[in-house]
Each structure stands twice: as structure tokens, then as C-alpha cells.
Amino acid sequence: MSGLNAFQLLNGLTFAALLFIVASGFTLIFGLLRIVNLAHGALYLLGGYLGYAAASATGSFLVGVLAAMAGVAVCGLILDRGLLRFVRGYELRQVLLTLGVAFVLNDMTLVIFGGDTYTVPTPDFLKGAVRFWGLFYPKYRLFVLALGVVVFIALWVLLNKTRLGALIRAGVDDPEIIAAMGINIRKVFLLTFMLGAALAGLGGAVGGAFLTLYPSADSEILVFSLAVVIIGGRGSLVGAAVGALIVGMLNTIGQVMFPEFAYFVIFGPMAAILAFRPLGLFGKAA
């Protein structure tokens, strides 16, 4: 069990890709909307369950993923429009409110899906392993890795090269001016919130196929996402990618070398980074 091999490094890398998908949604909402959504882990789990239910019912992995994204995005819509609007502008009240939502969501998924573990069924062409560099590696995990890269590129293009991205960035800097220019900034922010939630749903459906879904999976993924955002800095896409890589690799190293203290291995570097850069590697002061 000592030492790392290429297989484990790839595991770390694919886990990092999944973390990035989930954490990018978190950092998007946190950085742009100043909302810390502690229900993000619960949304991930909900996405996983929705993906499982839809994929099992239709036999199509793609339908499962889309259902998870759409369902969780609707949840995001309800959360933003139905609850968060009452506490807008109060950062701590928002956080604690989403924490309450996380409790309710988790308990409700427990009621519906019970305490069993589920695995989202993967499509046939992603089953099995490919052989390269003298090792067998599951195709599905490579697919997750590729998906992570695709999501990164898509988000980067969205934020930097499209009108919506420009609106989001401008709205973050000065929502009043944007509103005065006749743009419905609330709608832009709502879209961002739903996009962030959909990313959690995507992560749940994709992650649910190789990490299995169980009732406390949400808090584990939430802690990882928090670590990613704390390390990377809020609102930074690059930060989320770098943070996800660091956390994913450290987690794998920790699990291989010190299985009982895997959390500590993430925690040490996170503490060190915070000591020197309280806002994270790529964070900017608000």
C-alpha cells in the first residue's frame, strides 16, 4: 500500500475533474453572487439520485444526466426565488438559510431513496477498460476527466467571450449601473444561480456512477468543494481548477498512504495556504 502508481495518480486526476465540476458551480455562485450555498452538497446528492432514477427508468445515461441538471436547476430556481430573496444582502443569514435547506433536502432524499447505496448505470460504450502505457484503466473515469476539461473550457468561454458572461461580470462589479442601463440584473443572477446548481446536478449524476450515492455523500462532497474554493479563492474558475487538482491529488495520496487520516492530508496544505493567502490562491478581495 505504500507508494503511488500511475493508476492511483489517474484516480486522483479523475476525482479532481469531478470535484472541479461540482466546485465550479459553488465558486460561480459564491464569487459572482456573493451567496455561499451550503446546500450545494445536497444538490449534488439530489442530482445523483435524479440521475439514477431517470437513467434507470429510461435506460439512457444521457437522459439521466440531463434530468439531473434540469431538476437541480429548478431546485436552484426555487431556492433563489422562494427563500434567498428574503435575506438578500445579509451574507451570514444566507449561508445559514442554505444550511437549513441542506438539512431538509437531505432528509427528504433519505425518505424517498432510503439509506441504500445507488450507482448511476453507465452506458455500454463507457464500460470496461482501455489499455495504454501498460495499464488498464476504466473508460468511464477517463470520460469524467474529459468532461471536467470540457466544463472548464465551456465555463471559461461563457464568462469571457459571451454577452451573458460580460453581463455577469459587469453585474458583479456594479449591479446598479447595469440595472440603470436597462438590463434585468436579477434575471442574470438567477440564471447564474441555476447554472451553478445545474453543475452540482451534473456532478451528482456523473459522480454517482463511480462514487456511489449514499445519504452522507453530500457532506463529503461539500467539504471537498469548500476545500477547493478555500484553496482556489472564490469566484475564480482557474482557482477552482487548481484547487480541485490539489484536493483531488492530496485526497488520493492520503487515502493510499494514510487511509485513516485522508482528511488531514488535505487539511494541512489548506491551512498553509490560508496562512499566507487568506483569500485563497486566486482570490481577490471583495
Binding site: 451550503l38 427563500l83 435575506v87 451570514l92 443569514r93 463529503e220 469548500l226 489548506m270 491551512a271 496562512a275
Partner: protein
């Protein structure tokens, strides 16, 4: 919650002694906790014991959330570290008194370490970081099966023979909690406590006045951890059992919710908060297993309608007249 920076007035009344109303309320409260166990069945006595223990946890949270303006989400973990150490010690056959001391020391140490890391942050970042730190404790307790027993937890025999009965134990806890509460009350009114309030209201001002803000925050965190550890040690005696759910996020959340329900920055409100939450938990549990949902809903409703807590809400209503 938002009051921490915008409405410092919410916690000023206690500055120069206590008002008449507050004194009467405290007297009634003490009397109620002293007499109630004689009137209710045994099961309710253990609920009352639990309320007293958790009120200490909520007050520890309040030292940071109410008096220092830093809302923590790791106190359940610090509390649980003490419980784990005490139960583990007794399981290994150690003397209970040593175990209690070790437990509180361990919690204080964890509080100090968390403090060192967390004091550089404030607001939401502080909350997130403490949440992540608390989750690490939970992860370790869950996975370090050879010591913590993993999901099965640990069973010990911490409570000494003479406190085995419900009544003697209740009154022992009553006395200890009374003493702890008095010490905490003196603490928040001490020059040190006033400095913390100064930091809560304006960090830059306190820094300009020459106060070592970081050191004060660190000490406040450590002291708060110490009190959370005391509560955890008491809980070990109460429960004689510990499992990962004792250090879980929901424990931290309940501690914070108790502090908020009672009113952030009121200290004694913790007793009202603890009584409300634990009472509700026991009441709800008779009818449904969906306590987490109820807890979550309460959190949502309180955040929307009464973020300043029950005491704060009542005080606002009284003032408006």
C-alpha cells in the same frame, strides 16, 4: 446574525450590571431549573440535564458569534472531541477525573489549533473554514476505527457511582453549569470581553487603538473551545457513549441554532435556545423521525423572520412600545 456589525446596541444592556427585568428573569430561570426535576418523571429529568449541558455549548458558540462577531460552525466537533477523549479514557480503564481533565484539555487544544487557522478570516469565510475544520474531526472519528470504533462509536462508564442516579447527576450538572455560566458571564463583561465586542464592532478601530486583534481573537476562540470542551465532557458523563454523530455538522448546527434562537450576544439566551431546540426535538421525535427536516425548517424560518433570536425579537417588540 446581521446584527453583529450593524446593530451593536443589541447587546449593550448588560454592560453596567443587569436590569431589573433581566434579574427577575434569571431568578425565575434558576428557580425553574432547580424545582422542575422534582415535579417531572425521570425521563424528563434527563432531558433537563441535556438542556443544561447544551446550553453551555450554545454559550460557548455565543462567545464567538455574539461577542466577537465570528460565527463558528465547528463547536460540535470541539465538543465531541472532549466527549471522545473522556469516553475513550474510561473505556481504557482510566480514572474518570483524569479523563475529564484530558477531554477538556484536548478540546481546548483543538480550539486553539482551529483558532490559529480561522482568526485570519472573518464573515462567511470564517464560517466556511470552521465548517471544513469541524468536518475533518468528523472524518477522523469516522475512519480511525481502531481508536474511535468508527460508526459503532465507543461505550464507556464515565459516571462515578455516587452520581449514577438521575437526580444526583442532574443536581451535580446543575451546580457545575451554574458555576460555568457565572464564569462565562464574568468573562464577557471583563475588560477582555469588552475588547472582543470592540473588535466585533470595528476591527480597524481596535487595531488603531493599539489592541492586538489577532491575539484577542485567538484567545477568544481558545476560551470558547475550552467551554465547548467542558460541555462535551459533561455530555460524556451524561451519555456514557459517543459516536461520529456527536461530532457531526448537525451538532455544530444545533449549537449555533440554540445560540441564535436564544439570541446572539445575550449569553443567557442559550438556556432558552437549548430548552426550545431540545424540547422540540424530543416532542417531534415522538411523532416522526424527520427531525433533521424540522431542524432545517426552523433554521430557514428563524433566518427569515427572527435572525436576532427570541430574546432579541421580544426586546425589539418591547422597545417599540
Amino acid at each position: 446574525m446581521s446584527t453583529s456589525s450593524s446593530a451593536p446596541a443589541s447587546s449593550t444592556p448588560a454592560r453596567d450590571g443587569l436590569g431589573k427585568v433581566a434579574l427577575i428573569a434569571i431568578a425565575v430561570g434558576v428557580l425553574a431549573f432547580a424545582v422542575l426535576p422534582l415535579l417531572v418523571p425521570t425521563y424528563q429529568v434527563s432531558i433537563l440535564t441535556e438542556i443544561l449541558i447544551f446550553a453551555v455549548l450554545a454559550m460557548a458558540v455565543d462567545i464567538l458569534a455574539g461577542y466577537t462577531g465570528r460565527t463558528p460552525l465547528c463547536h460540535g466537533a470541539i465538543f465531541g472531541v472532549a466527549t471522545y477523549v473522556v469516553v475513550y479514557w474510561s473505556q481504557q480503564g482510566g480514572a474518570p477525573v483524569t479523563g475529564l481533565l484530558l477531554g477538556v484539555a484536548a478540546a481546548t487544544l483543538v480550539g486553539a489549533i482551529f483558532g490559529l487557522l480561522a482568526i485570519r478570516t472573518s464573515g462567511v469565510y470564517f464560517l466556511l473554514l470552521t465548517l471544513a475544520l469541524g468536518m475533518i474531526v468528523w472524518g477522523v472519528c469516522l475512519r480511525w476505527t481502531s481508536v474511535t470504533g468508527g460508526e459503532n462509536g465507543l461505550r464507556g462508564s464515565v459516571r462515578p457511582e455516587m452520581l449514577a442516579g438521575h437526580m444526583p447527576f442532574y443536581y451535580a450538572v446543575f451546580a457545575v453549569v451554574g458555576l460555568i455560566t457565572f464564569i462565562m458571564w464574568r468573562f464577557v463583561r471583563s475588560p477582555f470581553g469588552l475588547t472582543l465586542r470592540g473588535i466585533r464592532d470595528s476591527e480597524s478601530r481596535m487595531r488603531a487603538l493599539g489592541y492586538n486583534v489577532s491575539l484577542h481573537l485567538f484567545l477568544a476562540f481558545t476560551i470558547s473551545g475550552f467551554f465547548a470542551g467542558l460541555a462535551g465532557a459533561l455530555y460524556a458523563m451524561f451519555n456514557d457513549f459517543v459516536s461520529p454523530s456527536t461530532v457531526a455538522l448537525s451538532q455544530s448546527v444545533e449549537g449555533l441554532l440554540m445560540a441564535i434562537t436564544g439570541g446572539i450576544g445575550t449569553l443567557f439566551g442559550a438556556f432558552i435556545g437549548a430548552a426550545a431546540i431540545i424540547g422540540l426535538e424530543n416532542f417531534v421525535s415522538q411523532y416522526t423521525e424527520r427531525w433533521p427536516t424540522v431542524l432545517g425548517l426552523m433554521f430557514i424560518l428563524i433566518m427569515i423572520f427572527a435572525p436576532q433570536g427570541v430574546i432579541g425579537r421580544v426586546r425589539d417588540l418591547v422597545r417599540r412600545r
